[in-house]
Amino acid sequence: MTQMTFARAINSGLRKSLENDPKVILMGEDIGTLGGVFRVTDGLQKDFGTHRVVDTPLAESAIMGAAVGLAYRGYRPVVEIQFDGFIYPAFDQIVSQVAKLHYRTQGAVKMPITIRVPFGGGIGSPEHHSESPEAYFTHTSGLRVVSVSNPQDAHTVIQQAILSDDPVLYFEPKRRYHDKGEVDEGIDPRTALPMDTARVVMEGADVTLVAYGPLVKTARDAAIAAADDGISIEVIDLRSLAPVDYATLEASVRKTGRLVVTHEAGQSGGLGAEVAASITERCFYHLEAAPVRITGFDIPYPYSKLEMHHLPGLDRILDGVDRALGRPNSLSGLEG
């Protein structure tokens, strides 16, 4: 076990993938000499060369389209999108090509492309640097979408994403890049917990609290705080956003009877809506209360002085937990 930052854990996972498979190739803006604006690819170009770790011109659609061509040629491209808000020029290539080519060619052409996206807010940045665009991609069939919440998963799941023959969106919570944790670099990604499974990170009896990416830490903190009030929260790290591991969620909700889902992305049409609907369909008779969503608002990401109002924090999550439990909360007395 080694103590390392989240960013370093991804770097170490990328390094292993580059070492293990000569077809793995990294592409993106500023990922080479600079090592990425968050230093996630630090030192990799120096060690693997400019043909394996490629600094590209500033054209996101081209980065993605070139990755498609490389995949056609048998490569496993790992693409870095510098910030969440910069992914949209590549949207057409992701949705119309990356996601559909395997289906289009009846399985003849594989698209083992990993798209790394630093996402989410809380870092005091200007517009376009703090977005949570994951629902665009979870809605797109043909893609797998994951988000990691701790250095160990960051390290293992990036390798699993690269090993996947399907394209994977890998959402990195950028405000957690400097968080440190124990990482066992000896874990074999092929035998580790599969990428498309959720994980119960804290067991509890009263409420199931589902989070992913940056909010898993917030959810854990909320659960610890709630324990002081005698409320037992089961925290689930979703990890895979598409497909969602409903088996794990169902087992938890059948036990607790209550569901709270939280994410930074806006509420309407978001992943929380999908989780709430699916859990309601699957375990309606086990639910003691309506599912609760604690999310960002349906607004453009706000300027940084206001971002903490937009982002679900510990207290707002606990207010949602109170609602699920029928305890006094900010909406007490309101109908619906």
Partner: protein
């Protein structure tokens, strides 16, 4: 405005072989026999187009994008390629597909609605034709970067139209290709029309001149001259194979038919224009050249006709005899590994179909209940 570069031309519209010191050497191996073979290709491809259009009119195909008038651009370039070169085309390059050896039935598969790809790209080294305008130019560029990494000397060739040159993807592809000096050939079939929009709406300069701004050498060739197209393509391929990077070819041609069988060009273009281009017909000019050379014997004509008719018959029977896909095929190949969301939907839909007793009955829309 840029200088009006002369078109590279080796055969005049009247069928006269004219000499061109720079490009003649690139087709010096094309003797009488090869010329007859090119004439056969052109004729067969035109016949395929006629047959497919008829199949659409008879309800056997949902849609067809005719390539009438563009046969020389497709044959001249398609026959210049090596087997290990890789083609990334638009939906109109069915003549190129024929040159790559695509199975005749497979050419109609997409247009009948039986699949989203007519063939396995790796069996003929030609990607599934692209419908999103210009998107394939990036795929070719990425593929070429892969060729470069592999140390191979094959080339990625991408086909697109005049309208596509306005797309961001095509421009970004040229930025990447130039930056990495990737072995890719940008083959632009300037057929003058992007559905109803004339090429002058896309560009105020000749399309070939656009490449200059990217630092990519370009050639402007008579796209209705099969020999000139072959020579230009060979120049570009040779440059790419030997580390010289990308080339942009503008093949000046004309879409004599509609954009697709769903289009009506009389709403937006003048009949005189079509007449002007009919006088430059790519098939007729090779026929005239063969006649001048005394090669157009009754025997040659009969052979070519027989081949074209045989191909047309095979296309028709292959198209009509194509088995319909199975209902549950709708779920196949979305992912390469199990996916819990989709597997559940498939399971539920299979149960739904089974609830009718006869699964086929459920797909007949109104009649199902």
């Amino acid at each position: 405005m840029s200088t009006d570069r002369n078109l590279i031309q080796l055969i005049t519209p009247a069928g006269e072989r004219i000499s061109h010191p720079e490009f003649d050497p690139w087709v010096k191996d094309i003797g009488d026999e090869q010329l007859c073979s090119l004439y056969e290709d052109l004729t067969v491809i035109r016949r395929i187009d006629v047959e497919a259009t008829a199949l659409q009119r008879q309800g056997e195909l949902g849609l067809w994008p005719p390539l009438l008038g563009q046969e020389a651009a497709q044959v001249g370039s398609g026959r210049a390629l090596r087997e290990d070169d890789f083609v990334f085309s638009s939906y109109r390059e069915n003549g190129v597909a024929y040159c790559r050896g695509v199975d005749l039935t497979d050419i109609t598969r997409v247009w009948r609605g039986n699949a989203s790809s007519g063939w396995d790209p790796y069996t003929v080294n030609m990607a599934t034709p692209q419908i999103i305008i210009g998107a394939q130019t990036l795929h070719a560029t990425g593929y070429a970067m892969g060729i470069q990494n592999d140390g191979a000397d094959s080339v990625a060739v991408t086909y697109f139209g005049d309208g596509a040159t306005s797309e961001g993807d095509v421009n970004e592809a040229m930025v990447f290709a130039a930056s990495f000096q990737a072995p890719v050939v940008f083959f632009c079939s300037n057929n003058h029309w992007a559905i109803s929009e004339p090429v002058r709406l896309q560009s105020h300069i000749q399309l070939a001149d656009r490449a200059t701004g990217f630092g990519i050498p370009s050639l402007r060739v008579d796209g209705n001259d099969v020999l000139a197209v072959m020579a230009a393509t060979r120049v570009a391929l040779d440059r790419a194979r030997h580390g010289g990077g990308p080339t942009f070819i503008e093949a000046v041609t004309y879409r004599m038919g509609p954009h697709t069988t769903a289009d009506d060009p009389t709403r937006y273009r003048d009949a005189n224009e079509l007449e002007d281009w009919a006088a430059k017909d790519p098939v007729e000019r090779v026929k005239a050249l063969l006649e001048r050379k005394g090669l157009l014997t009754d025997q040659v004509q009969q052979q070519v006709r027989d081949k074209a008719e045989a191909v047309a018959r095979e296309i028709r029977s292959g198209c009509i005899g194509m088995p319909d896909p199975e209902p549950l095929d709708v779920f196949k190949h979305v992912y390469s590994a199990p996916n819990s969301w989709l597997d559940r939907q498939q399971d539920h839909y299979a149960r739904y179909l089974a609830s009718f007793g006869d699964p086929a009955g459920a797909t007949s829309e109104e009649g199902a209940r």
